[in-house]
């Protein structure tokens, strides 16, 4: 095989690997929300906003709410918590073991300035919803247009 072909093959393999591991292949990972199963961020989050608030929705089923620890500092939201594993199940008793468990930390950059003191969070049906009120400066202001 000529060297040129080998080189092309090598590049093709590199590209395939890069695509596979990059965050830009949601098709492969959609629906996957296991911590520790791969070098992936956990929990996965969705970010939404309206005029007054930012909303962070995190996919975290089975987390012990007492271990959840949220903090806001310098435009970053940090989510810490622990998903407890199943206690006292011996390895040979398992027929399937697909859910993973463990401690996690994730830091999310916020696109707007928020009032740290007024942030509140809600854990419901395995989804964590963090509501972050925007600071006065970050809120959109309506500019009146005068007609001459």
């Amino acid at each position: 095989m000529p060297i040129v072909d080998l080189d092309a093959l090598r590049r093709e393999i590199d590209r395939t690997f890069e695509e596979f591991w990059s965050d830009r292949s949601p098709r492969v990972w959609r629906g996957a929300f296991l911590p520790g199963r791969a070098a992936r961020q956990y929990p996965l989050v969705n970010l939404a906003e309206d005029e007054g608030n930012l909303y962070v929705e995190a996919l975290a089923p089975g987390v012990d709410p007492k271990t959840l620890d949220l903090s806001v500092a310098q435009g970053m939201l940090t989510i810490k918590g622990e998903k407890p594993g199943l206690a006292q199940v011996s390895a040979e008793a398992y027929h399937r073991n697909e859910r993973a468990a463990g401690r996690f930390v994730r830091t999310i950059e916020l696109p707007a300035e928020v009032e740290g003191a007024k942030v509140h969070a809600d854990y419901r049906n395995g989804l964590l919803l963090v509501t972050l009120p925007k600071s006065e400066k970050a809120k959109p202001k309506q500019i009146p247009v005068s007609v001459a």
Partner: protein, 132 residues
């Protein structure tokens, strides 16, 4: 190893399309843990975003079906999305020695726990040996 595994009726690639329905919906196969206890089987499934009312667990013809409808809880307009909540669907064939009448289910923090007890006659019984 093969005979210890509960066969899954559905392929495990997610998301998947249900074949026995005309609904144009797409589904996620939820990850599960299945383990044996002294009295039966326990099935634990991660179903984030599923409310108790939106969850349908049933056993028919020896097949356990878990079907959950999900709903996002965040208001507002999306800025960045890392996950999408699709409905959950998964089926398992149950071994015959389980008592499908006595299945207990609990949903807590988006995790479903099912306890499937063995039938009385399938339980190991200790036989007393009398010494004469």
């Amino acid at each position: 190893m093969a005979e210890k595994t509960v066969p899954s009726v559905q392929s495990e690639t997610a998301p998947t399309r249900r074949e026995d329905t005309r609904a144009q919906e797409r589904y996620i196969t939820p990850p599960v843990d299945i383990f044996e206890t002294k009295d039966g089987l326990t099935v634990v499934a991660d179903l984030p975003g599923v409310e108790q009312k939106a969850l349908d667990v049933r056993v028919a013809d020896g097949i356990l079906t878990i079907h959950g409808k999900t709903a996002h809880i965040a208001p507002g307009t999306p800025v960045e999305r890392e996950f999408e909540l699709l409905n959950f669907y998964r089926q398992f064939e149950l071994p015959e020695e389980l008592d499908s009448e006595k299945i207990a289910a609990e949903l807590k923090h988006g995790v479903l726990s099912l306890r499937l007890p063995k039938k009385e006659k399938a339980k190991p019984r200790k036989i007393e040996v009398s010494v004469s």
